[in-house]
Subunit: 688 residues, 2 copies
Amino acid sequence: MKRIAIVIALVAGAAVSHADEGMWTYNHFPSDQVKQKYGFSPDAKWLEHAQLSSARISQGCSASFVSENGLVMTNHHCARSCIQQLSTPKNDMVAQGFYAKNLPDEVKCPEMEINQLVEISDVTARMSKATAGLSGKPYNDAEKAESSRIEKECASSDSVRCDVVSLYHGGAYNLYKYRRYQDVRLVFAPEEAIAFFGGDPDNFMFPRYDLDVSFVRVYDGGKPAHMDSYFRWSPAGVKDGDLTFVSGHPGGTQRQLTIAELEAQREWNLPRALIRLAEMRGMIAEYQNRGPEEKRHSNAMLFGIENSFKALNGRLEALQDKEFFASKVAEEKALRAKVDNDAALKQYAAAWDAVAKAESEYHQIENPYEFMEGNAGFSSTYFGLAKLLVRAGDERPKPLDKRFREYRDSNLPALTQRLLSPAPIYDELETARLTWSLTKLREKLGADHPFVKKVLGKQSPAEVAKNLIAHTKLRDVAYRKQLWDGGKKAVDASDDAFIKLARFIDGDARAIRKRYEDNIESVLKKNDEAIAKARFAVEGMNTYPDATFTLRLSYGTVKGYNENGRFIAPLTNFAGAFERATGRDPFALPATWNAAKPKLVMKTPFDFCTTNDIIGGNSGSPVINQKGEIVGLIFDGNIQSLGGEYGFDPKVNRAVAVHSEALIHALDKIYGAERIVNELRPQKRATR
Amino acid sequence: MKRIAIVIALVAGAAVSHADEGMWTYNHFPSDQVKQKYGFSPDAKWLEHAQLSSARISQGCSASFVSENGLVMTNHHCARSCIQQLSTPKNDMVAQGFYAKNLPDEVKCPEMEINQLVEISDVTARMSKATAGLSGKPYNDAEKAESSRIEKECASSDSVRCDVVSLYHGGAYNLYKYRRYQDVRLVFAPEEAIAFFGGDPDNFMFPRYDLDVSFVRVYDGGKPAHMDSYFRWSPAGVKDGDLTFVSGHPGGTQRQLTIAELEAQREWNLPRALIRLAEMRGMIAEYQNRGPEEKRHSNAMLFGIENSFKALNGRLEALQDKEFFASKVAEEKALRAKVDNDAALKQYAAAWDAVAKAESEYHQIENPYEFMEGNAGFSSTYFGLAKLLVRAGDERPKPLDKRFREYRDSNLPALTQRLLSPAPIYDELETARLTWSLTKLREKLGADHPFVKKVLGKQSPAEVAKNLIAHTKLRDVAYRKQLWDGGKKAVDASDDAFIKLARFIDGDARAIRKRYEDNIESVLKKNDEAIAKARFAVEGMNTYPDATFTLRLSYGTVKGYNENGRFIAPLTNFAGAFERATGRDPFALPATWNAAKPKLVMKTPFDFCTTNDIIGGNSGSPVINQKGEIVGLIFDGNIQSLGGEYGFDPKVNRAVAVHSEALIHALDKIYGAERIVNELRPQKRATR
């Protein structure tokens, strides 16, 4: 049974040093602490090399550069949407896998962007100056405007990406400067059956037998990009007890939230999200019974829904653990007591109540906000494109500091990549999703809500969806480009059904967004910053910030754990995969594996788990050894790690990775992917 | 927006008298209180007449006898499953409605049982004696055994039904003796489009325009049963401000639960149930797209799921209301303080913590309990029948006090009615539901759970479901009868796939049930009883017990309310229905209504709301006036009434009913159902 058993999670401050806890920024890695515990610590050169060899997939994953010719290793599930976008009813690359035998066979991913972090600089002083003395809407506006300005100054061309990152919930602001690659081509992907062996039942579980890998390549000027830094392959791999580092991009944690924020998650936000995901899951799973093509084109969506469902459910269970929650309450109480009793800190004392009030206000408007502005009422790729175009028409002509943040100059390359993606859109799936979400719009706001009447009129959700999809040209990339290039004038002149809808409701959507930003977001931001400052003053600065989908380094060791009184060994092998196989999805091994079975060395390590502190977004991160060599590929955490959102439990929280030897063994013996093996290990030696 | 706004709900004791609160038992109706407030109170004769004229549909609804010839009025949604069971692909009576023009045209409902409460007697002393000095398993066993014995002594024949009812959570035990009718025939049902006008969006809402009525008739010896008592029809109907009584069978409330129990609901049980319902809802809603026949045969299921979802969601929102919950906490704290400080009551002091511990233990086993014994893993009519037969084989030969309670003699007529029902079972729907629930079984217990391996082996959930359904004969009523009559021997010899499965897993299911009954149910029952006694001692006995699906009488008045600053008038009329209609499901009026429009008097009252305190199970209850005449038919509560599960808020909690004039007007002018109109109003006068 999958129960979270966080006994007492250590969440901040001095306590951190006792566990392998922390998603550390590269500019504040706790080298002394690691040295003390493991007798080794990365030096500046090691860190620089690892930083430059790490990669981020901007849609939400991690990766690594693994050759001087721009080869990038990540998870299968991180390239999954690319693989599906490149597939056709006749060539289902998700099911069959893909291997570009030669360089010219590599195929461009329609929507993938890869970033390499080249520089971090501190812009806290400049940001503080911009917001000094402000609060509420002016504070929020100034914070966003200054961020946009800093990013614009930094990003000299489209191949440079700059993001101002708020760390410690506003306690510090750093500028992250990236090399941006938008020409990314698919090199290799195994069959989904082995990349995601065990499917949803085994997701977030351990022991595990997944070859969750894909290789892509970044191109520059039409040629493979040359990388000065990249990770070498370890000749030895990794074994029980070895020290491991994970360099990746954890998407977000919430370890520094207030109790009011955690309560809002436990009581409102998580149950609400789970209920929505559950209904979508039931709908899409049954939609797949319409036929094999429907199954194929909705598989990625179902995977995403089930993965989110399981992850959020784990979080909810963590917050429902009374002992864990009590430890959070005690921690906040202690901090607030110190703040209340210190003349210098008293200025921060009101922040917690302000946060609680803002959470409660959000609860009042969450339905209109999520359904009118958050697109929960319009679950449709077409609608997303239409809204992007309508808003671009209004926003792009504005001065930088007056625009919605997503239309800042430094974000335009990402927007246009999405807008002009040639990835197919499936009208049947669009119709099903849109009908469903319009039904939810009516359900959540009520049939008599003016916005609902505006959208539906006297029609049913199914009719509205059908009519919209019958009268759109947005499936045509050229038409989208024409509207983007033509700006507001072109958009206003368009008679496309989705464009007309997006235009028609944009005023309502903007109004609720304004209410959210002015009354809630600004309050949370300002007061979270105050709490961060209070925390620094009380606990010192030698802790790590909550994850922000920026590069972090964690340390740990290969280590098993106890679950319900049973010891779980930290490594699995190929034999285990064949034992677990039933021949039925999701426990069916691909034909290639059964065919190659005689050639395989069954004791070759397959997957392993470590104590590294990771979270969603770390998928695709390299696991590296002391020499900075690849020994594994992160693809999951165990079920107990889901509580890692709120606190790290060293006893049972484990990161889960594919072993480097498994990757080589499979590429070599099962897939005959010699070209990749040679590129990964130019030193070439026979696999065991 | 549908928000619960329970300000301070009055939950018990002396406070009750200030509001129209309470689902009062007929043997303890607060006549003085009503008299004081309204200047009228039912006397013994009035009460006896109302009691004998009220009816219960044992599957979960209320009803009333409305003629001396056994005519019964209830809601359309209470006869919905009968109407669907009698329908065929070619004759969809749910969509088309039904009217038996002549007595011989009335059709038997396959699974309906109607009860008339003839006697209530107090058996508290006898029950207390049986359980005196016991606790844990012996307490629980003795409590059940004595109940079964009392019921058996009382029920002289199959046409008598006797239930021992635990009131006040064990504070008192009453024996309810009913006349049982199992020959129930359908007389009239309108089209679902008007019975459930507004569908799920308008469910639990007000204002409303629903003709949620159906008429059935109880038969005795093949002839309409003669009723000595029945409700007459009011010639005048009801208007704003009128005093109203509702006599019906509220299914259950939880106003006397402890805080630990309420917290378990808020944090665990309700989110869990909502997530499950949401997924089923998505699945069945999309299943309906398979085709019109699939839509037809799954409609009742979807209605049930959506109705439950909305009801439970309302409960969750009520418990999430911080102010309301705080009032519950304060109330318990005050009661516990009195108990702690009173030498005579101290014996009850430990009960609250014992309840909390049992709730927490239940949380540990809820997955295996619900999935292995609670059938959550086997969502299938066939499986339910197979389990009934397998267990009957083992249980029926045992002495009464050793059997599972559902196999007690007094319950056998209900079991055999279900077992031998000729209602169709739809294999396609069975396959979809069973596949889905087996997938959930694997998800919730984990792929490696021994029980899951036992059920699935190396097969997929879809294969298992398909194989079971391909190899069952349980669709044949004669075969089921053969296994019932043949007992254990016949069941053991059966090679039916479902029977084999039910037999194969029965040991595991019994084991987890035993654990639940011995360690959790027994503790809750014993300690709830202790709390009830403490409450009586502190608050006196002049309050009403939580609802128990036994006959209750509530009083109130026709009254509007304020919602989001807007006043909602208490009566709607026919004109409103035509205004609200869009022509699209669920806001499409039936063709009969559009055709009859010129004949209708548009200002005729349609639906109305009252302050009567009701809850799920009250559906189909008669609304009666001071003279004991029918003035309406309960079919819903407003959205604010959903919090009534935990406490009554007189400001906004409203019962929703069809007006008696609307019923007559529609029967007369739209349906030409003269035979029924004449039977309801033998005094016959023209409708307005």
